[in-house]
Symmetry: C2
Subunit: 511 residues, 2 copies
């Protein structure tokens, strides 16, 4: 169970087949393997030892692909950094992980001066002139001799993946080779995330586990990786059409942008066989439009998180066909889940409790953080902090992050339920529901709404519409309109940002 295994298979089974396609640059399997073994050689010459951490801060490219595999080939661990982070957060991750080498592209080379205190070596993997003080990626590959694959695998640390999630200070999630392979293989076995010898489009950021999951799944069954620097609707549609892409991962906000795009119908998306989505909930109406836009694709939803590498549950194409669109799916082939009541026993069917996950995909722990590790993994289960209930057939329904749950007038209110209702108003493009301080009720349901272009609605209309769908006490007591919601690198809505904004606007905090 070593992640470089797929390279050896690719060379054996089709040395001349494309491995990566990035713009006009196509690398065959043989060429890609040669470059990876040379880059691994360069890393070793630069002093990278077995178990060392090597970081990258870059948009998507074929070099991101090579960086991941070369680091493993050399027996080291990857630290893919979140491209949305501020320099302070990046610096924290570098210090915390002890990565002294950083690869940066053109987009992030300007950040390097603010990170230098943590770094011994900076490798520039852009296409321009190598900046002063950095080493050139292509020059390193050209100069180094290929080395043998260390074939590190099993429980060996494959990477540290920093997750601020939506809750603040980054934690370094340690994932082993086995963790990543178990999740990807289980997902593939369960729901066919990748087509054997197919083409996977990487439009979501490659630093994130969501895209890494489908990347690994495609590696398992052979095929090519079509890579674009970042998500952009036209670029996605063109890449699918040009390269006959068979599978891709999208987060809900990307799906929304695609189906809202006026050019959607002009592009031939018929080659797409499977679309994986996840990381946050999606409005049913948007999902249905997306399913129409990709006529030949099975849609699969994944629920999970970095700590489970990342797939916990899957809602298969079959589940979609059977109408379970509100569910986050059932325990995936490699995964066991249960819903724990506050006293730790199994919550009854239909009752919200905390989602616990168990299996070979659960992280080794948090880097340098034994206290949080033992808390998160107590009793042999990973404690997600997510509230959800399960129906009698094991379908999971996410209610909320437990810390996002709203307690209003003594009632527990789960924002996902309210958001689903608000999103059904025809004028609503997307929304987020948070609890805000309220003198009378303790907390009050507050909705932050982005309207669809060309549509209008008042707060009262949205509130009235919502009340036709859910109990009155759950309907938002206040509605705020905005142009866009703050998103994490993975496309998750940052509710803590919304709470801060609200507090600032209402004079509750000063900063």
């Amino acid at each position: 169970m070593y992640l470089t295994q797929s390279i050896h298979r690719a060379v054996q089974q089709g040395p001349d087949a494309p491995s990566t396609i990035f713009g006009d640059r196509v690398r065959t399997a043989a060429e890609s393997a040669d470059r990876i073994s040379r880059l691994a050689g360069a890393l070793k010459l630069l002093g990278v030892q077995t178990g060392d951490r090597v970081a990258m801060l870059a948009l998507n490219s074929d070099r991101y692909h090579e960086y991941l595999l070369a680091t493993w080939w050399a027996g080291a661990a990857v630290v893919p950094l979140n491209i949305r982070w501020a320099p302070t957060e990046i610096l924290f991750s570098l210090h915390d992980s002890g990565a002294h080498m950083l690869l940066v592209d053109d987009a992030f080379a300007p950040v390097v001066p603010s990170l230098e205190e943590a770094l011994d070596t900076v490798v520039y993997c852009g296409d321009g002139a190598v900046p002063e003080g950095m080493l050139g990626y292509e020059q390193l590959i050209a100069a180094a001799e290929p080395v043998e694959d260390v074939r590190a695998g099993g429980d060996t640390l494959a990477g540290i993946f920093y997750t601020g999630g939506t809750t603040g200070f980054p934690k370094g999630v340690m994932l082993s080779h086995s963790n990543l392979r178990v999740s990807a293989t289980g997902g593939q076995a369960h729901a066919g995330l990748a087509v054997p010898d197919g083409r996977m489009l990487h439009a979501a950021p490659m630093f994130h586990l969501a895209d890494l999951a489908v990347w690994t799944a495609q590696h398992l069954v052979g095929g090519s990786h079509v890579i674009i620097p970042a998500f952009e609707p036209i670029a996605v549609m063109k890449a699918i059409e040009t390269h006959r892409v068979t599978s891709l991962l999208l987060v809900p906000v990307m799906i929304q942008m695609l189906v809202d795009h006026p050019d959607m119908a002009k592009h031939d998306l018929s080659s797409c066989h499977s679309v994986l989505y996840g990381a946050s909930s999606i409005a049913e109406a948007v999902l249905k439009r997306a399913m129409n836009a990709f006529p030949n694709a099975g849609f699969v939803q994944a629920y999970g998180m970095t700590e489970v590498a990342p797939i916990a549950t899957l809602l298969t194409a079959q589940d979609h066909a059977e109408g379970h669109l509100r569910s986050a799916g059932r325990a995936a082939a490699h995964s066991e889940i249960r819903i724990a009541a506050p006293d730790g026993t199994d919550a009854p069917v239909g009752t919200v409790g905390e989602v616990l996950v168990r299996g070979g995909h659960v992280m080794l722990g948090y880097w340098n953080n034994p206290a949080d590790t033992s808390d998160a993994l107590r009793g042999g289960w990973y404690h997600t902090g997510d509230g959800a209930y399960m129906d009698e057939n094991g379908y999971l329904y996410i209610a909320d992050r437990l810390k996002d749950m709203i307690v209003s007038g003594g009632e527990n209110i789960y924002s996902a339920e309210v958001e689903n209702a608000v999103a059904q108003h025809p004028a609503v493009a997307t929304c987020a529901v948070i609890g805000v301080p309220d003198e009378r009720f303790g907390e009050r349901v507050h909705a932050v709404v982005v309207l669809r272009q060309g549509f209008a609605a008042t707060a009262e209309e949205i509130r009235g519409h919502t009340k036709t769908l859910i109990a009155g006490y759950k309907a938002p007591r206040s509605v705020e309109f905005t142009d866009a919601l703050p998103l994490s690198g993975a496309g998750k809505i940052l509710k803590r940002e919304l709470r801060k904004r609200y507090s600032r606007a209402n004079g509750l905090i000063d900063d």
Copy 2:
């Protein structure tokens, strides 16, 4: 990665769905889980400790299924015994593994007196009266309280699987939970061996890794196990038709018996979605007839052995459609293979060498046999002892067991090639080719042939026909006709038996 995980998922995702179907006896997932947890409780009461070995000697049944899972639930390891073996071989396996508890059914209860010296406890899992000196399986389940699942997994020993293979003295292959799951998940991810929520027919013996592989694959994705005591053509066809079986494993000799059966066309086999076959080579003509007989099934060939739990390569349905029928497939998603020249380097494309296998599915080792273990696993690769070559796209072509290779007049002759040619004679049902002593050539190619019912052919006709297909020096110099070939429990032709028979018939040995 614990093999009992699937039970928890099955109860969560469909407690009332059938888990096992054995004749008229149907057990739901909830009922099956309850019985397994009680049987595990009974094993513990009987003194089975974590890591102990528990053996079973029985035809297929729903109790075989329960035995496997209950043993793991209790934290112990299974020792499924070969039903074709003589009492001396069984006794050897019991002594060697240290299993002091044996489960037997009606077919094997009569053997127990000859095994008693090795045993503390014998559990009778037939449907008649419990024989003197044995404990009743149903009585144990009825009397025991359910216990918690130990959830042993990962590198924990899951079972010792004795393999005489075709080469003599049994060796105990130690497989971990992880080994078995890696192979089954990889096979499922690569080629879809089981249909999610489908029905898997167990007609091949359940003690054998070939059937255990598809059993595990079906567990991974949920569904039911339809079990018949043993392979019999009519029983297979009826089970498929009655229970709308979606997948099954067959060894080539079973496929041959099915397609040769006069009632084949009378049964509706349209529910079958996938047919996995393997364990030995199959004549192309037979395979084509089988593909017609199962109109909706994708055929998948697996090549492997107990030591790799058991899948090394897969020839997918797509590969079949593309005409690669002679190949044993390509390295499976979880597996790395290479062909080693005698000096240990990679053999060039098209050149026969030894097949080596690497990955998380490679056994822990041979039980009580560190010398054979380190020899078989030297350099981090499992050495199969099989001769094969690979083409430029990674397709593997098995030439022979290296020890079955015939050296005649200084030429290496691979029996598979000769067998393929002989089998193309229209009168030949099946055949085996061995080397026999020859004064002039050292060894001489000798064919043992079973004719199709109602057909006739002379040795000279077969020899003449073969020469039209392969080089003259490879054609059999002698041909012997027989009614049936000696087969191992897994349906492999026992060439050492054929060589013994020849030697006896020709006065070369006395025994």
